[in-house]
């Protein structure tokens, strides 16, 4: 195998396997830094030895074993510096547990032990005692195997700031007594919602409205979907976990159709359905159904159901707006917000006409709650345009334009203004 091929394999493996290895070593050593550094060293060792000796049968297991040995080395070296023996007892315990991490642990023989480690790590990284941006960074770093510079670029944060954020978060986990465990049942709803929020935020950062480098953003969406799949494997009986994965898949399915060859934004109703990823649509749709059968609806399932209705238009090109409006109505009860009301108003406009929708949108506008939200003004502008009220539409489009920082969206709004006013 050529070094280039090995390099690619190791890169891919790092994304997929480093989270597992780190999770296991954290459980055993109780030390984030030590675990991460040992795993990183194992990957460097892979790059050095695999081109010559060939790739081992189970590369993931090789990584965990090598990382375990590196961690053991470091602990023993550290131990040699110590004269007093107060903590030797704990040391012996760690040595014993590290030695017990068998290469087989990452293989199919003992999947549960390792999966438990990853689940523990997810819940620890997303603990509500950590600041929200620290949860995101830590999850991407430890479970996603993204590097600090990659995360910094994705969130447009200077690298030292992000590095500092990670160090502080790890220190807080250690010093504040944040437990490394899956929370007990009575804490699970709150904690799970924080985990889902972190994953969805990563997805939206990649998919959504804020600016950033296209390639890295693509990385974020696939990383979020990968984490979503991990969580579905680990918690298959939690409908909101299925709902979140479904939601991400059903949106990502339309990625290629969202922007045209010139890089211009294409509205959902005008998208070329041939560009939708049907495999993703099917998988997402099946997940929504599986989740809904559990009869514990929640915001992610409802949003996924809405996306599924949109994607169902793949069959005959027609969208069932009445059903979408009804689902938004349910969502407004499950998690009330003016943004949900706005979406409901838009769906009603599609079902019952722009005048009915505009009355609802105007009411939201009058409340002032969404005044800084570009999509409110863009939606209002669109309804005014359909009603032939061009001057008012242009004013609303201009307001939306002032508020958005996304290049693609800006050029879409400018195009509309140009069509209506000729400038």
């Amino acid at each position: 195998m050529t070094p280039a091929v090995t390099h690619e394999l190791v890169d891919r493996l790092f994304r997929e396997e480093s989270g597992r290895a780190v999770a296991t070593l954290i459980r055993v050593t109780g030390d984030f830094e030590l675990a991460e550094e040992a795993v990183q060293e194992a990957f460097i060792a892979a790059l050095e030895t695999w081109p010559e000796r060939g790739v081992p049968d189970r590369p993931g297991a090789w990584i965990t074993t090598t990382a375990r040995n590196r961690a053991l080395d470091r602990l023993r070296r550290a131990q040699r510096f110590r004269e007093k023996t107060q903590v030797i007892g704990r040391q012996a315990l760690i040595d014993e547990e590290l030695a017990a991490v068998e290469p087989g642990d990452t293989g199919p023989e003992d999947p549960m032990a390792i999966e438990d480690d990853r689940l523990r790590l997810i819940f620890t990284c997303c603990h509500p005692a950590l600041a929200p941006d620290a949860r995101v960074a830590l999850t991407l770093r430890t479970l996603g195997g993204l590097t600090t510079p990659e995360i910094a670029r994705a969130f447009l944060v200077p690298e030292p700031t992000l590095a500092q954020r990670l160090v502080r978060a790890k220190r807080k986990i250690r010093d504040a007594g944040i437990p490394y465990r899956v929370p007990p049942d009575h804490l699970l709803p709150e904690r799970l919602s924080s985990v889902l929020q972190v994953i969805y935020l990563v997805f939206n950062e990649g998919y959504g409205a804020s600016s950033g480098d296209e390639l890295i953003r693509r990385d974020l969406t696939s990383e979020a979907i990968r984490l979503g799949r991990v969580l579905v494997d680990l918690m298959p009986d939690e409908p909101e976990v299925l709902g979140l994965l479904a939601l991400m898949l059903l949106h990502d399915a339309r990625r290629d159709a969202r922007v045209d060859a010139q890089g211009e934004l294409v509205l959902l109703e005008e998208q070329d359905r041939n560009l939708w990823d049907t495999a993703m649509v099917d998988e997402g749709g099946a997940l929504v159904e599986r989740a809904m059968r559990m009869r514990r609806p929640g915001p992610y399932q409802l949003q996924a159901a809405i996306a599924a209705v949109h994607d169902a238009s793949l069959v005959d090109g027609r969208t069932d707006w009445r059903q979408i409006a009804a689902l938004y109505g349910a969502l407004a009860i499950a998690s009330p917000s003016p943004v949900v009301e706005l979406n409901r108003a838009v769906a009603i406009a599609m079902a019952d006409g722009p005048d009915v929708g505009l009355a609802l949108v105007d009411r939201i506008d009058a409340s002032g709650e969404l005044d800084g939200y570009p999509y409110l003004h863009a939606a209002r502008a669109d309804l005014l345009r359909r009603l032939g009220r061009a001057d008012e539409a242009v004013r609303a489009y201009r307001r939306a334009l002032e508020l958005t920082s996304n290049d693609t969206e800006q050029s879409f709004l400018q195009r509309r203004i140009h069509e209506l006013s000729g400038v």
């Binding site: 470091r74 550290a78 005692a129 007594g177 944040i178 437990p179 804490l187």
Partner: protein, 132 residues
Amino acid sequence: MRFALLIYDEETANPNPAPPDPAVWGKVMEEYNAFTRAIKDAGVEAGGEALEPNTTATTIRIRDGQTVTTDGPYAETKEGLGGFYLIDCENLDEALAWAAKCPGSWYGTVEVRPVVDFSKYAPEAAGATAGA
């Protein structure tokens, strides 16, 4: 590990406190007594005191050998430190669960802080960190 539950409330920081309504006062005291009993029964209680309001505070600092004494608390804030509990828990989740049951978190705000465990700063433990 041990945690301090630091209770902040507006009454403590109020510069012109009105005499408390005996009925309200009695109810609040009963709630605090119940909480104290609960942590004692659970075997996690490790100390604690209520503090007189900010109006009684005196702050002292020594700079260049000069003693500067000031009337009032260290920081003038809307909410003042009105008291604290020390509890001994397995982890932060447990400490947060107790904090949520503390009346201070209904009437004001409870800050949960781990108490420093000096044994982890022993030279041998520091060696492990430096080597890692």
